[in-house]
Symmetry: none
DNA sequence: GATGAATGAGTTTTCATTCAT
DNA sequence: TATGAATGAAAACTCATTCAT
């Protein structure tokens, strides 16, 4: 492979990725705006500024688009959230960091949250692997385990701890997006993190 | 009105109600089984044991069916859950009672939960009134207010308290339905209730 | 089942059959006129005077329509042609009768021939069962066997006899439909039958 | 024109021809394998190891490819079959030779037969000239005429003679390709040729 | 010449809704 | 009321052809 063909290949891959990304981003916006129910290939194409047929060059069909988007978000999420995990830090610090990362992630990428919520609760729709639903929770599991070992987190069943953390995060985000609260208001996030930590931590 | 016409009218109304209910129950089962995405009028009719056209005698159309079902569930839920609220009891007792009622409600009517989840995250789909989404939370709001007044519940913003209660309940139910935990196993529910209460209560 | 419901059911079945038949007849006409390649569901619907969606009430899809039509023709053909077979008659008489029946069948139902020809030579198109292609030849096989037993037909391999009979019939029909000959002209059919018989018969 | 440009032109033409041939051969293989119905430009390109757009450098479009292939086969066929015709030989010998040539031609180029059959029965598809369908029959016509003149072939209408020869040849090839007989088995071809000759010849 | 991504018209198929019975 | 066949608009998907590179 000479330099020229290498450059060509690189440009080629970039363009491909850009179009794939453009399609996925369109879906994201549309699902947020109109919901899964009103999603259709024509709209996706329009939103992405391409022809309907073009989608089929990059995806097998509608389900494939949806599943690819889900995978992209999960990958992105886990990467961004796990970024905050540093072995040497205390569990509490890691907890704060990860919860903050997760919240920031969804606040920044508002459409992600809306998509994930709708994807998660659509049984048998587009789901290749039902268990993937819980992939998003992996970082939290890891942190919980360590906390229990160090006896800073209550010795409750994982499901209960998970509910207190993930569930409350989910709901506060929903309330934020529905303008029932404002996570960007000074102090709110911190109070939420503290309340969550108190919920699962052994009082010192 | 003679006795005969009275009886006729009574029977007539009963039949109407039965068929309406049959349709709604069909939707419930189908949404649980196949998800919103695969729901269609023919399936609803088949599941209800009637003809497709018959649905239109009782509902304006598909959206009307969905919305009617949502309202039915909300009404049912609020009634069953508020049933547990007794003014004279302590906030803690009322909290336990209501959380238990809510959990029992969804455990008994498993399809309700699945439907509510999917309905909630389908923006602008079938939604006449976006605020209705929060109708389910009314009993909780009432209890929180009283608890704060009596200084047994932390003086946190409603959104945070709500998240800790409603969000964690939601998630534990999801985990239960996905067989990641078993709320029917002895002690689990109680531990969950206690953990929730600790999360929001002022330590005594 | 009372008389009324019996009548209803009868009428019901008749209507169904009529529409199914109407669709198949449309396909027949279109395949003759425009060929398989230009066949599409919209045209079929138009030709049958119904909406496109209606076809899907009677058939699973395009392939199902085509295969159903093939089966209909084969059934019809075998019935009409075998009608001419009478055990007590001589092999020669039976041969004449069946060849005549086959030719008359296709002359009467010109579209059948065109369809069968196109269906037969479209490998893997719509074919559920490749061997069905030879179902049409069953009556001929039967006659050949008897003729060989009675030593009035040459002791040639079945494939050769079949070719002389079926192949030449096919070709003369094609020539007729392409106006290269006219089977309706007096004496032509008889001369063809005799030539065929001479081709396979032991000279007496 | 200097030597260099001559060589260049020669190479150029060769490449052109090679690619054209490669495309036609691809179509041949695909039509045999999947049938006309499943033929598409992308498949043709893939099978030929070129890009889809390249086909349009050599042909006007899909129909042009198909028609060009048909013409190629007809030309090839007539050349190979007429090769066997020698004025000085007897009609019988010429008949044997030509029938043998035709059979050998199709046995060697199995895909040709499949293509021709499907092309022939696709009315108005790709057909510039309906009469071309009978181009393949020219060598036979010639032989028949001579045979009738010499009174070695029955004085039957051309259509009948043609049917007995061409039709039976067609069918035996079909049976061979469908594995209902085996023309490569010793003696079968010879028995077939003899049976055909007996069918059209005046018994001596 | 060669490519193959992009197009968009055309195709198959689905499905909410209507309406004659 | 109840039916379910029929509709037709809209959806998903295909593919011959074009064109910038």
């Amino acid at each position: 492979m000479n330099v020229h063909s290498f450059v060509c290949k690189f440009v080629f891959i970039r363009l491909i990725m850009d179009k794939k990304q453009a399609i996925l981003k369109s879906v994201l916006r549309l699902v947020k705006r109109d919901g899964f129910y009103h999603l259709n290939m024509k709209k996706i194409a329009e939103e992405a500024g391409i022809a309907a047929g073009t989608i089929y060059l990059y995806f097998k069909g509608k389900e494939d688009v949806i599943n690819a988007l889900y995978k992209m978000i999960v990958t992105d999420f886990n990467q961004k959230v796990l970024d905050g995990y540093i072995e040497s830090r205390s569990v509490k610090e890691n907890f704060h960091e990860m919860l903050n990362n997760a919240i920031q992630f969804y606040l920044k990428e508002r459409d992600y949250f809306s998509f994930i919520e709708q994807y998660t609760y659509a049984p048998f729709l587009f789901k290749e692997n039902q268990d993937e639903n819980f992939m998003l929770l992996l970082p939290i599991y890891k942190m919980m385990k360590e906390g229990k070992k160090q006896k800073v987190i209550k010795n409750l069943p994982d499901a209960i701890l998970l509910s207190l953390i993930h569930g409350s995060m989910n709901t506060i985000l929903k309330l934020h997006l529905a303008h029932k609260t404002d996570l960007n208001k000074k102090g709110i996030k911190q109070r939420f993190y503290d309340a969550c930590w108190e919920a699962i931590a052994i009082a010192s």
